[in-house]
Symmetry: C2
Subunit: 245 residues, 2 copies
């Protein structure tokens, strides 16, 4: 069934108008009409079954019928990723959403060729991915910051998995073996790597765990996707003991 | 340094002409000329440093100088992947190469919307990815076969990691915990999933290990990339004890 993220509150009988894009999608692409059901979620009230109650030229209206899943969140995991080329950054955002991150924080590093980040466009990609992947929230896409500033204001208690391609870090599963569940972030550098001084600064952080992603050179998107999956499998909701999204 | 895959044998002093695409790339894109060095590999003779010896309108000639790395192969890992939309299949081939697979075997399943597979184009993508990722061979892209036929002629002794999204399989790290190193394949289904009869057949194979990739619905490319990374981390060359590509 079609799943849509909406800003409105969800409660039994709540009637709401979908935005023009969603309205067009339901009618023109999915060929739905009055009486057909969709799923709605807003990141707060869980997932609801709703029925299309009106179709006008301007908008589709739906009425919430019943809750189908209670609100739940994935693990408290952020992805901190150096700004890379637009297409790869968009892939990273789509995949980070499928892999259950809560927030994506783009960072500017010494070797970043900073293109302008279109947070709005990345948020649209994250929203569509959330609709497809079945999660009940949309990851937040934050405004880019400089790596130095991010480290300077680091949230107390959040661990950092620092994917260090320079080669002498432990393999990722080894590195995560003795770590514990809790707030985490995964840091992926630019394709040119971190500068020596950035690496030194990152290695010196007491909340950072360096890890290696194998013997081959990885594109930034491959590094981000694989590190997220390994983290979810070792410490997150890909484990048997963890609960769903 | 630029790395190029070539068909020729490599030996000290060997002089060879690069193909038109590679010649154009070196001169027009990388702005290299006579006297500049590149790295060459052919999947048999390791990696060699070579020097550009001539640039004509038709081709760039290079002379092999010295071996820089002996030939080595990654683990004996195949990716068996249902034919998915062209862009996603191309992403899968690029990433499978970065993640060290030896062969990519496209398969036709009941729910596959089979587009024509352009093996030649996928091989070009695999070659470029091999050049970038630093490996010393190019994964083979095989002609598509039907899943039934592939299972019928399965190679004795090769294990199969069957990524089963239907939900009751063990989490992937659990599933791989007691498995051993050796020839393996990873099977990724189409976005519509395997049919019930395909799942029954796959579950019945004594060489197959079903595994779950977490609680969210994954795109085929995400499933392929994450399963390959988890396998490499658990049984392949992302482990501390394993050797490089």
């Amino acid at each position: 069934m079609v799943r849509l993220f909406i800003p409105h509150d969800l409660a039994p009988g709540a009637e709401l108008a979908l935005d023009p894009g969603q309205s067009r999608y339901l009618v023109a692409v999915m060929r739905l009409g009055v009486g057909d059901d969709v799923h709605l979620f807003n990141g707060r009230d869980g997932e609801w079954r709703a029925t299309i109650s009106a179709v006008t030229k301007r908008a589709v209206a739906v009425r919430a019928a019943a809750s189908t899943r209670p609100q739940a969140m994935g693990p408290d995991l952020d992805l901190v990723v150096a700004l890379v080329k637009r297409a790869r950054l968009e892939t990273i955002v789509e995949k980070a959403c499928e892999l259950g991150v809560r927030r994506v924080q783009p960072v500017v590093t010494e070797r970043t060729n900073a293109e302008r980040t279109r947070v709005e466009r990345l948020t649209a990609i994250a929203t569509e991915a959330a609709e497809q992947t079945g999660r009940l929230d949309v990851p937040a896409i934050l405004e880019p910051v400089k790596l130095e500033k991010l480290i300077g204001g680091w949230e107390a208690g959040r661990r950092l998995l620092f994917c260090d391609e320079a080669g002498d870090a432990e393999p990722i599963l080894e590195a995560l073996k003795d770590e514990t569940v809790g707030p985490w972030a995964i840091l992926i550098g630019p394709e040119g790597g971190f500068s020596p001084s950035e690496r030194r600064a990152l290695r010196a952080l007491d909340y950072a765990t360096p890890a290696s992603l194998g013997p081959r050179i990885l594109r930034a998107d491959t590094a981000a996707i694989t590190a997220l999956a390994l983290w979810q499998a070792a410490l997150g909701d890909w484990r048997a003991s963890a609960t769903g999204p």
